[in-house]
């Protein structure tokens, strides 16, 4: 496997696996991210500070008072040469999503029109998409989630919204995302989840992680409200969403 090492100053460098967005290349990025994590857990790679995965590259940051690029790079090379386990399967996460009404899905009708579907067909295509979290960034907890059904591909909105609500589910290009905060945004808003992607009351405030495999599951407004109330109160066990949360919406 050939990689390129790119300098990011004297405290970081990037290991670039290719120049395209593909599950294979991202799988290698995530595999090196995991391999470095394991090597550090075993006491290796002293001076390495953290690793930052993105679509096709892994940025490695280090402390130049504790190590050097010349010392670290061969160790990373050795990890890659040993072979990366790219078959690792991410956590399966089931995201409840309400697609009902103008408040939650203001762009659903327009997306339907532009993709020549009915709104119900748009929802069905979103629900059927095999999503994977490629990278987190832009703001804490914001995930770039690829795998959108190709019939829903649309460019970003020409005019971004100045303000959209927390936990809005949106699509653009070949991706979907969930806004962790009230923020500006240029994607098409088609639903809302009662879950918070970022909750600083928690020890692990960020809900998603790179590599997570996502599916959206449809809930109605009453079910949304029931879960939202628990999220608001901070009493909800997040691990439910990595397995089964149906008890939350039973009457």
């Amino acid at each position: 496997m050939s990689v390129r090492y790119l300098s990011c100053g004297d405290t970081a460098f990037s290991v670039e696996f290719g120049n395209e967005i593909s599950p294979q290349i991202n799988g290698q990025v995530m595999a090196l991210h995991a391999a470095i994590g394991q090597a550090r857990a075993a006491g290796g790679l002293g001076g390495l500070v953290e690793t930052v995965p993105s679509m096709r590259a892994l940025m490695v940051t280090y402390d130049p008072l504790a190590t050097t690029r010349a010392e670290l790079q061969p160790q990373i090379d050795a990890l890659i040469a040993r072979g990366l386990a790219t078959d690792a399967v991410g956590r399966k996460v089931r995201i409840p999503c309400c697609y009902d009404g103008e408040e939650f899905a203001p762009d659903l009708a327009e997306v339907a029109e532009r993709t020549r579907k009915t709104p119900e067909q748009v929802i069905a295509a979103h629900l059927a998409s095999p999503f994977k979290v490629y990278v987190l960034g832009f703001m804490p907890g914001l995930a770039y989630i690829a795998g959108l059904d190709p019939t829903l591909y649309l460019p970003r909105r020409a005019q971004p919204r100045v303000r959209l609500p927390r936990s809005t589910v949106a699509i653009a290009m070949d991706m979907t995302t969930i806004y962790p905060f009230e923020s500006p945004g240029g994607w098409h808003l088609i639903g809302r989840t009662p879950l918070w992607m970022f909750d600083q009351r928690r020890e692990q405030p960020v809900f998603l992680a790179p590599g997570d495999l996502l599916t959206f599951e449809r809930i109605d407004r009453a079910q949304y409200d029931a879960i939202a109330q628990k999220v608001e109160a901070g009493t909800l066990d997040w691990s439910l969403f990595y397995s089964d949360w149906s008890e939350l919406i039973e009457p």
């Binding site: 790119l6 300098s7 990011c8 395209e20 967005i21 679509m55 960020v206």
Partner: protein
């Protein structure tokens, strides 16, 4: 509870330590002190470990009322602080040293002149719960530090210590030399997205700090840098000091509150030795950039760290602050002999 109370806020005062390290993979910016040297020196003057959270002062600092038996504070940076007690006129204090303050006194941190940042450390630090391992404020997301924001009137910053530890006040032997000359940079990660002419423009031109300069980064004005492969890349990680060049061709240096990944090509990255200088640059200042190798940048950083350690080892004993009871004795020349004798041996 012992505390410092904000009786008059400054403009951009935030609690910062050396940053929230280890969470960039989750999209969490590191934040942290824009001038890590300034914070480290303030902490050392206050007797703290280097990573203790202090106040980063931007443009104009707050007035802080001492609600503790006593507190040792230390200030670094181009400040003209003053002590306010009762109805007396403010009494000037020095920066780059520690001061012992007593209950009821007000520290006026004052204006930062000639730099964009200065630091205040308190002996023992604040009792604020860390968030993801750090007290650094990341105001864009409202997290960390004091309620995730800059300080406002009537904020009460709880202190770990009820009174200042015994010991002398300390001062820097001389101002720390941050260096002059061009800002050192390392080419990459995407220098190959620029034409040779574009790279030459970048390292031969003068760039001016625009008004769009904050904790996230600094937009520079000057000659435009020519791309050869375009401004857009597949988003990748953004290290500290990354210099991204969007389509308009003007460089943006990304600092503490930078986003973790981004989609503009990055021509070069500021060497870590010069990041504190970037963290102090005011709008209107001009800089030049000069390329160095990774290995050279690493040794420059190690030399700078050694100089910080030498500056700390070379602290001098300072005359007690104007605010404590002893000050009156100094003013009345009752113990001048002692003072001069002490200064003579340091």
């Amino acid at each position: 509870m012992s505390a410092l109370k904000v009786v008059r806020p400054g403009l951009f005062d935030t609690v910062q330590d050396l940053g929230r390290i280890g969470y960039m993979a989750l999209g969490m910016p590191t934040a942290g002190a824009m001038d890590r040297v300034g914070l480290a020196l303030a902490n050392a003057l206050a007797g703290n470990p280097a990573n203790t959270a202090g106040l980063e002062i931007g443009v104009m600092g707050p007035d802080l009322l001492v609600e503790a038996e006593s507190v040792r504070i230390a200030l670094t940076g181009p400040l003209s602080p003053a002590l306010i007690e009762g109805d007396s006129p403010p009494k000037p204090l020095e920066s780059d040293r520690s001061h012992l303050l007593k209950r009821g006194q007000i520290l006026r941190v004052g204006m930062v002149e000639g730099s964009s940042t200065a630091y205040l450390a308190v002996a023992g630090g604040f009792t604020i719960a860390p968030f993801m391992g750090s007290l650094s404020t990341y105001a864009r997301a409202g997290i960390g530090g004091f309620e995730g924001r800059k300080l406002a009137a009537d904020d009460v910053l709880p202190l770990k210590l009820d009174s200042a530890p015994a010991g002398d006040e300390r001062k820097l032997a001389g101002p720390f030399d941050y260096g002059s000359g061009p800002i050192r940079v390392i080419w990459g990660p995407q220098d190959d997205y620029f034409s040779e002419a574009g790279r030459q423009t970048f390292v031969t031109s003068e760039y001016t700090v625009s008004k769009e300069a904050d904790r996230m980064g600094i937009r520079f004005e000057g000659p435009t840098i020519e791309h050869s492969k375009g401004a857009d890349i597949i988003s990748d990680g953004i290290g500290p000091g990354a210099i991204q060049v969007p389509g308009a061709g003007l460089p943006i240096v990304l600092l503490g509150d930078r986003q973790t990944v981004g989609g503009y090509s990055k021509i070069a990255t500021v060497a870590s030795v010069d990041l504190p200088r970037l963290g102090r640059l005011l709008p209107g200042r001009t800089v030049r950039f000069a390329a160095v190798s990774v290995a050279d940048a690493e040794s420059l950083r190690r030399e700078q760290d050694a100089r910080v350690q030498r500056a700390i080892a070379g602290f001098q004993v300072a005359r007690p602050a104007g605010g404590i009871d002893l000050a009156r004795l100094y003013e009345e020349n009752l113990i001048d002999g002692i003072v001069y004798e002490r200064e003579a041996v340091t």
